[in-house]
Point group: C2
């Protein structure tokens, strides 16, 4: 392999693939990336055996070939080099880098040892705006369970239907659900599919696609999923993210989303968020804050107390419907839910201390955040 490539291009590719290069001690080849020069492109690949990424870059290929080298290490070098053409050459499993008065020789490994990143049949797929899909994922991605005791809730549950995508995540204490309606196309052979996407894949995908307003192709197979962005002019693949899916049955989450509320209150989101954070300073080990809603006072009181520090109380205005109520929550779950919401006003729906409560943006029916109260406090 011998090629010339612009520093900026190479950096763009390395920044993306190096994120999934692992520090794997038992399988050191996973610390490496695969460089593959062919025709007029350099393909960079990385995998952690769960996710694989392929990235294609324009380059002047003088000699086709492949090599694998430590990914973060190459990335560090390229970051320090000033903007200009960089020459990369493979000789005897070493990569030689030349750039003006700078030269380096990096020890590589044969590309034959690099794991194969699987490909997927391109029949069953949808096409959606990448920024739109990324925004949808952002609503839910951080609410997946972080423990591995119930692997089926450690990812994002996604339903791809003819005219509807539903994204769901839960850790059994709270749950978020986001819907995307109609704003996508489906392939002629499209069949509805529901799957559990690993949280790490969701995060990496957001990182890659969130700032792009491009068509995102999403291909389905029984055990894997592939996301693909294409070059605007060439219509050739530019980035591919291939991921395994999580096996198992996702819980029947719709059961726990309440259909009605004993108490509802309209609140200014930022005011509510700020006062919860303030109260949280006084909360105890189970992060408890107590919410008391009118209806005589038109608004909501937040209480917290700690045996070490003292106690706090604050009142915020809001329009109340329904009964007076007193419910305790883990303040972290309220903060997470409010942070997901972008609108200025929210509706907080409560069902005493027995049933789940919800946070919803006013004027947006596509997002629901469900949170369980702390019982018997």
């Amino acid at each position: 392999m011998k090629l010339l490539i612009l520093k900026e291009n190479l950096k763009k590719g390395l920044d993306i693939v190096e994120r999934i290069v692992s520090k794997n001690l038992t399988l050191p080849i996973l610390n490496n990336i695969l460089l593959d020069g062919k025709k007029n492109t350099l393909k960079i690949s990385a995998t952690d055996l769960e996710i694989g990424i392929n990235f294609w870059l324009l380059a002047k290929i003088e000699k086709e070939g492949q090599i694998t080298i430590p990914g973060k290490f190459l990335s560090n070098i390229i970051n320090y080099l000033p903007s200009d053409k960089i020459s990369l050459e493979e000789k005897n499993q070493n990569l030689f880098i030349e750039h003006k008065d700078y030269s380096a020789q990096i020890k590589g490994t044969s590309s034959q040892d690099f794991p194969i990143i699987p490909s997927i049949e391109k029949n069953n797929f949808i096409i959606i705006n990448s920024a739109l899909f990324s925004k949808g994922l952002l609503y839910v991605v951080e609410n997946s369970s972080i423990t591995q005791t119930r692997p089926e809730i450690s990812g994002v549950f996604i339903v791809f239907d003819k005219n509807l995508i539903i994204l769901v995540a839960t850790d059994s204490f709270r749950l978020s659900e986001k819907k995307i309606v109609s704003q996508f196309k489906t392939s002629s052979l499209f069949k509805p599919v529901s799957l559990i996407l690993p949280q790490k894949t969701a995060r990496e995908l957001i990182n890659i696609i969130s700032d792009k307003e491009q068509d995102l192709y999403v291909y389905f197979s029984p055990n894997q999923i592939m996301f693909e962005l294409r070059g605007k002019e060439s219509n050739q693949p530019q980035v591919q993210v291939i991921s395994r899916l999580i096996e198992g049955e996702y819980p029947n989450y719709q059961e726990i989303i309440p259909k009605q509320y004993k108490t509802e209150i309209h609140l200014k989101k930022n005011e509510f968020l700020n006062q919860i954070k303030l109260a949280s300073l006084f909360s105890d080990k189970i992060n408890e804050v107590k919410i008391v809603v009118g209806p005589k006072k038109n608004g909501l009181d937040i209480f917290a107390q700690s045996s070490d520090f003292g106690q706090t109380q604050s009142f915020i205005n809001g329009e109340v419907k329904g009964e007076r109520t007193e419910v305790s929550f883990n303040w972290k779950f309220l903060v997470d839910g409010l942070n997901n919401i972008k609108s200025q006003e929210i509706v907080f729906g409560l069902n005493k201390e027995d049933g789940p409560a919800t946070l919803k943006p006013v004027g947006d029916e596509t997002y629901t955040y469900v949170v369980m109260p702390i019982k018997g406090s």
Copy 2:
């Protein structure tokens, strides 16, 4: 104690004193700050028994008195409150905070348990611009020794003479020396003094004074030092930092600053810094990079190699005087020295692998950074 104070004022004071509030488990009172309302000011004090800080703020005092409460905790609360007047009231060793619809009660402790922050006789002192003194400290403060095996080099050595301040720090591998000439006043009873200032005090002082263009009063006593800023109109103390000094004899550091060089090279600072960082990626466990200076090639080569990764070489232009030379350094020490220098050009003075090398800014005789080579490589 009962008083009204503007949020912004209180925050300014808390931000500064809370930095030295320690997480002290054996002496929990040190987690606290002392609030002392008297006449028309609130004085906030904190100490870790090494450094003490007093901060005076304008407040409307309705009832004089004192209380001590957890410092970081109060600071967190104040940060969340919107801008406005805050009411603070002491009752039965509790602090009651009121602010619009918010109220809190914080458990405090009797002010009698709070350690006394000593004061210093105000005879022997100098007056210097605070930003100027802070800049001087910044040249050297991070080069003190971090181990406590030789406590005398764990601080900044400072000589206050009639027309000259010398600031020095070393960890025995490298040394930095900064001089401030003439730009300060001395008291009528001034006597020259040399002392060792704890690194932590130097850092906290920089944090407090670096953005201020004010008179800084520096008062000396045999075991302590006090830094004071005064209100521009009132001429009353606004902030005081009182610190113990480190006991012991500072090494005769002047012996190791070379008077002449076998090789000298003028370099562009940023280019040199960048290439050292680039080479550092390949350096081994002792952080070794090898410097080779002309004189046939008008410039300097940097080499590094690692048995794991490979090797690197880069050349940078520079004007060379003296003999060809080949010397190895710990790249971290070179980077630290270069980071201290603000000028665009530097002189790198070398004495083969036996003697110390220096980095100096071109056109500024007041700063010298001395670094020992790695021998026998």
